[in-house]
């Protein structure tokens, strides 16, 4: 399956960075799922869990306190003021 570069970033550290197959997050307009080669998008996130399906590593679920989701040709960046890793499955 195709993958994309995903960065999960907090102001004081890079929380996770790597290849992923799928990202699910919730913006102010509702739930959104991002697959590789998604059109460029900038979304404002609300406080909700973000799920990253990592390539070959299982899912990463992180609670974000609101922030941004930026999708570009380079990949997906999730910017959040606070990030709490909720669970990892491998």
């Amino acid at each position: 399956m195709a993958t994309m570069q995903v960065d999960l970033v907090a102001p004081d550290r890079m929380v996770w960075s790597g290849e992923a197959e799928f990202v699910r997050a919730r913006t102010v307009d509702g739930e959104i799922g991002i697959l590789p080669r998604h059109i460029p998008l900038l979304g404002v996130l609300v406080e909700a869990p973000v799920t990253i399906r990592r390539a070959g590593e299982g899912e990463l679920v992180a609670n974000v306190s609101g922030g941004f989701l930026s999708v570009s040709a380079e990949g997906v960046k999730i910017l959040a003021e606070t990030v709490e890793i909720e669970g990892e499955t491998s």
Binding site: D7, V9, A10, P11, D12, R13, M14, S17, T27, V28, D29, I32, I39, P40, L41, L42, G43, V44, G66, G67, F68, S70, S72, A73, E74, K77, L79, E81
Partner: protein
Amino acid sequence: MGAQLREARRRIKSVQSTKKITRAMELIAASRIVKAQQRIAASRPYADAITDVVRTVTAPGVVSEDHPLTTPRETVGASALLLITSDRGLAGGYSANVLRAGEQTTARLREQGSSTVMPFLVGRKAVGFYRFRGRDVSHSWSGFSEQPSYDDAKAVADDLLENFVKGSSDGGVDEIHLVFTKFESMATQRVTVSRLLPLDPADVPETDSEEEAGQSALMEFEPEGAGVLDALLPRYLTARIYAAMLDAAASEQAARRRAMKSATDNADELIKKLTRDANAARQAEITQEIMEIVGGAEALAGAGRDQ
């Protein structure tokens, strides 16, 4: 032992123990610079990413309406001045340089028509400076200058934004200026004055990402238009303030290391000079004693011949 010699030896001992302290502080500061630099590096992914996003969104033609945070006001009745200094001293001219630049900026803003310049102070040194002069210190934060957290920056940014949104007609401000010490390298730190708000899109720095120009025109926004800016710009401001605090923290340690290094060097010089003085005093004492013995012997010999 003569009084002069005793005094010199006492001073040598005292200078030596001072030197030990300054030397230890120099080493501590040096290791803290490294930690502070690591914190700067750790904050860079977020800062770069949010800067990219802001540049994309504020590019001409992306969001049609003007946002209050990017629109200069026609008349500037009041300005805010954010000063970032240290909590502790013993860092040479570190805080003094920021405060001096702050005074100059205050004067400049007054000339440009701000009837009030509202101080926002970070660090005990700035608070002390303003309190001593009997000025307003109601917007001040301290206790974290060496290790600022994002929440500290957020507290400052929220207070600034609240005053900016009110505007000068309502007891707030129309412009926000920042004075802090930029950490350029281990050897160079420069006091920097810049305007935080209203944000000039041309001021948003380039980052080294490969984002293609023109891509922003095709971008989708959720929510549409100004809603994105409402969420984005306050966080960008917070990120800028956080970055400034981290830079200031590294600069503070670098300034302290330099101050303590020259104190240690001065102590070395002083010890050298005092040792010379002590040796001269000891020699003078010995000469004096010899003279006394010779004088006494001669007197005895003279007295013997007379009998």
